[in-house]
Amino acid sequence: MIDLMGFWLISLPGFAVPFALAAIGLILCERAGVLNLGAEGFMLMGALAGVGLTLNGTGAPVALMGGALAGVALSFVFALLAVGMRVNHVIAGLSMVFLAQALTSYIATSQRWTNNAFEGLRPVLYGQDAMVFLTPVLVLAVTWLLFHTRFGLALRAVGENPAAADAAGIDVTTMRFAAVLLGGALVGLAGAYLTVAVTQVWVDNVVGGRGWIAIALVIFARWYPWRALAGAVLFGGIEALIPRISAAGFDVPRYLMQATPYLATLGVMIWTAWRRPTSSAQPAALGRHHVREARG
């Protein structure tokens, strides 16, 4: 029992970090009013970049940075569609997931990166890698950026009331672009961490729905970074429990057990919505395009 707990606690941060990074990235983006359903895709891009760079011997830190850049690259396409061309945010987000699934699968196959295990990020302290310690710092940084800087004030204004921000001289489109790219970097980093530090191998769709769970996590966190970190620990804890339970020899149906993170996510979402309607917490202009209003 002690072993179970111990292994569980040691493996927990590895599961929690991708959720936390992806969630704060999404919060940055959605606080500016851009609904981001492409998280799964951004994570895949980051994950693949991490694998490719590590396999080519760059070392883990560069691989993680590369993952963040890959996230930025895809979020540029997303921003072009959702912000620049005013495509419906849902369609734009979904098409990013499809694009990333196809693109990563194609690149991984043609480069023969699939099922090619490697050694990625190594632990530095208490069996944990550096990103585990860096993640709370990043959460702090995002909180500071959003709530204690002029940039954050403007970013949130764009997400709450673009017309007001426009009247205050803020270029709504530019601001949203910036938020999408910045957020995309963090979501890409989350994906890179997943492969470079956790799985240390590429298989198609390695992200396996974690991007969607991160989106649910943002709702659960009511768009606050610290709550997202707490939620990430919760969800990471649930995910970390699954291999531990079978390793400890409990006889539970394996595949039904694997469905629990998704069921737990649904449960947490329902509980969140039950307590207080989500609409009261989300940025008022989330998912809405801004075009200047005119009266004759």
Partner: protein, 497 residues
Amino acid sequence: MGSMRMRGIDKSFGGFKALDKVDFEARPGEVHALLGENGAGKSTLMSVACGLYAPDSGEIEVDGRPVQIDGARRAVELGIGIVHQHSRLVEAFTVRDNLALFNPGRPVDDVMRDAQAAARDLGFEIAPGRLAGQLGVADQQRLEILKVIVSGARLVILDEPTAILSDAEGAMLMELVRRLAQSGRAVVLVTHKLHEALAHSDRITVMRGGKRVAEALPQDMTPQTLTHLIVGANVAEAFIPSGAVGAPVLWLENVFVPGEGRQRGLAGASLSLKAGEIYGVAGVSGNGQAELAAVICGIGTPTQGRIMMADRGDITHQGPADRRRQGLAAIPADRYRHALAGSASVADNFAVPGALAGAYGPWAWFNRGIMRRQTRDAIARNDVQGVRSTGQPASLLSGGNAQKLVIAREFQGKPRVVLAHSPSRGLDVRAAAAVHDRLRQARDAGAAVIVISEDLDEILLLSDRIGVLNAGRIAAEFDAPADRAAIGAAMVHHEHA
């Protein structure tokens, strides 16, 4: 400092000429009223002044220097500030954050010190930590004014500032406007209210159809001459009393509905609508108007109280479908939310009641040919202008014609009860008069008509009986002809109790 001169401003949208060689001048220390109907071009002109639109041609001078105002930020740099008709505050932000947002590049503490000082000069206080969304409408407006003053505005444009205020709040605002001018700023007061321009301005410019038709001093003008300039013709509308008031048709007994957000909702509203009578509901916005309209339509459900209908009994829990079967017709306030689907065609909008009643065939066969034919007939009968084809989207209709389309649909059958909520909002004088005419016709045909409006002039013009909605209940009732001052007093009495 603070003078602005616009010369020969042209602006078109697509093929529509919104501004046609307009001249306008604002002088320091002066309140300049910009008067005109909806669609006359007032707001467009002011949007050009504050950098939201680039004019197609024309010149703008600020303090004697020619300038190009290519954005909101540039306008602020030039000392031009605008307070929009609809609040441009971030409601989720505090007063402090709203002021900081609008004054970038300066330490927040400096901004707040300036704001406190300016507020004191203008005669009010601010609470920096309160959420803007929790402020009352009048306080929000003061905050908006403060926002632009702190950012260094020497020219302050107020777009229809009293539209959503009570008479008392409006009077206080006008005092503030006077102080702004006395502090050496130029003030532009955009309004469609004659008496406001006559009583509170130093100069009046009248616009009509995108053109400037007159610039004059208030002492040289009378309400009659101004009306003629604004409308371009004499449209005289007068109160016509009902010929025969009948028995009660629909009545509310002590109805309670919780309000949404800052709205008060209904708290014990009782009223009775009689056949052949127009019942006007006066009141300051946010005192339960939206909820009253909703419960009468069957969209909202009371938590307490009953709604009764003659020879139908208790209809409290009936939805809109049942109410309509019993002869309810509704002209809602929010036209493109509750009355029309803007992206759907004119025919699709007109045909809803007919479709539900099976007028275009059974469930499995929907005959669009009949639907289009009926729509064409109704459009002709009701004088809906600007319909090139029944397939064109309803959003392309002008406000007045969209309202006529709603009326054409709602008055198809002979309604027993007619609800009209702000029926002339956004319409010009002629269109408003046409709508009022149709309401009187419905009344004379024996319907019980209820008109809910925040425009007291409209209420006085239409109503045989007036109820004042205050804090969610009918606080007082008056028979026509009613005393305007007494109604005004009932509207604000115990408002904060």
